[in-house]
Amino acid sequence: MSKEWPLWEVFIRSQHGLAHKHVGSLHAPDAEMAINNARDVYTRRNEGVSIWVVKAADIVASSPADKEALFEPSNSKVYRHPTFFPMPEEVKNL
């Protein structure tokens, strides 16, 4: 084998209509085989109703070094969570 098959990331939508979730990766020569292989490797027990495969090389990821710059700003904004606002016990449905 002279040429290594590209790596594909696999995303599965589970039975209950939730978003596709990353489950792992695999090698395949093309998208069609990637779907076939993903079926065998990641859905042997009824794990899903839909498969996405994406070439790993096409994924752009944030860098661990940027963690602070990206995620720090939301740390100070606790008021974005409903629990920030205490509600009197006698007030219902809020």
């Binding site: 084998m1 040429k3 290594e4 098959w5 990766s25 020569p29 093309d30 042997r44 027990r45 860098s63």
Partner: protein
């Protein structure tokens, strides 16, 4: 275990003073229970050790299909055959999850396979024993997969994210393997005297190799101590082996089978079973390539890979042709 005696390349456990600032920050993250992800900075020795450990684990899953493959065409019923096929397919899947985890550390799949096929990479000693009767398929599920579960459940909490996530998937499926094995043993142990004798014979042959799977005592091992500090090894070989003995003895009693160890005895004081000495010469001999099936396993594996080459090439030719047609359109 599935990865036995993994070398860290270090002569002594790194002390805090020996560590660079980066290494200290890395160790602090591990100590705080933070998962290390592929793109995070990591010491080269951590990376190399994990490549060894995860690829050895992956190779074990792949080679582990071979002893069981021996019985696919001779399973006693169609149902047993379907179950065995499903289990073997799981083993292939486990190998693939693990190869993927290893690849996140910067090695390629083909490199890993080449190392296995060239006989340079290790896999677990246990898969170099033959499966002589149908009862061996029961004993493998019960004992070998049982031992694997004991080793792998803690690894679901190991420090390297992709390895931990692969282990979670593997463990979910492994429970089926152990149960189907015990189910075979129950059927045989409750059958005719000949069937029960067959089950006993399988237990006699698989008991000690299963205990050897955990590897020799590593209480004094630098490699194990370093791996423990890195949280890629969470319990000592002796602790895991004791767990195996303690949980398996009552299971054997239920089957009415005798564990082939005259020294096996409940120790009230320790709250554990005492058991006899393990023949580590046999273990090292198997590791060196002189077990009953080492050569045959490697030969079968290489043949399967070479026989599939025309098909892999055809898939690539098809993919290239499709891509060219699409580009032209």
């Amino acid at each position: 275990m599935y990865a036995q005696m993994v070398d860290t390349g270090l002569k002594q456990v790194q002390s805090h003073a020996d560590m660079s600032d980066e290494e200290q920050a890395f160790q602090a993250r591990i100590d705080a229970g933070v998962k290390i992800e592929p793109k995070d900075w990591m010491p080269e020795a951590y990376r190399r050790t994990l490549v060894r450990q995860i690829s050895q684990h992956a190779h074990s899953e792949i080679v582990g299909q071979l002893p069981e493959g021996n019985w696919v065409t001779r399973a006693p019923t169609l149902k047993r055959k379907s179950i065995l096929l499903a289990k073997i397919q799981d083993e292939a899947g486990h190998g693939l999850y693990l190869y993927s985890a290893a690849e996140t550390l910067g090695v390629s799949r083909d490199e890993l396979l080449d190392a296995l096929h060239a006989g340079k990479a290790k896999y677990s000693s246990i898969f170099n024993y033959p499966t002589l009767t149908w009862a061996d398929i029961g004993a493998i599920g019960w004992l070998v997969d049982g031992a694997a579960i004991i080793n792998q459940v803690p690894l679901c909490r190991c420090s390297f994210g992709p390895y931990a996530r692969a282990m979670i998937r593997v463990c979910k499926e492994e429970a089926f393997h152990a149960r189907q094995g015990y189910d075979i043993m129950m059927k045989l142990a409750g059958g005719t005297p000949e069937q029960k004798a067959m089950a006993q014979d399988a237990l006699n042959r698989w008991w000690w190799p299963s205990l050897m799977m955990f590897g020799p005592s590593d209480a004094e091992s630098v490699n194990s101590a370093q791996s423990a500090a890195w949280r890629i090894k969470l319990f000592s070989n002796d602790e895991l082996r004791q767990r195996m003995v303690d949980q398996t003895v009552p299971q054997a009693e239920f089957l009415g089978l005798a564990i082939p160890d005259p020294d096996l005895k409940w120790n009230e004081e320790r709250g554990h079973y005492d058991f006899g000495a393990i023949d580590w010469d046999e273990f090292y001999n198997v590791l060196k390539g002189n077990g009953p099936c080492n050569r045959e396993r490697l030969r079968t594996r290489v043949k399967a890979y070479e026989d599939g080459e025309w098909f892999r090439e055809a898939l690539v030719a098809h993919a290239e042709k499709q891509a060219a047609t699409q580009a032209a359109a």
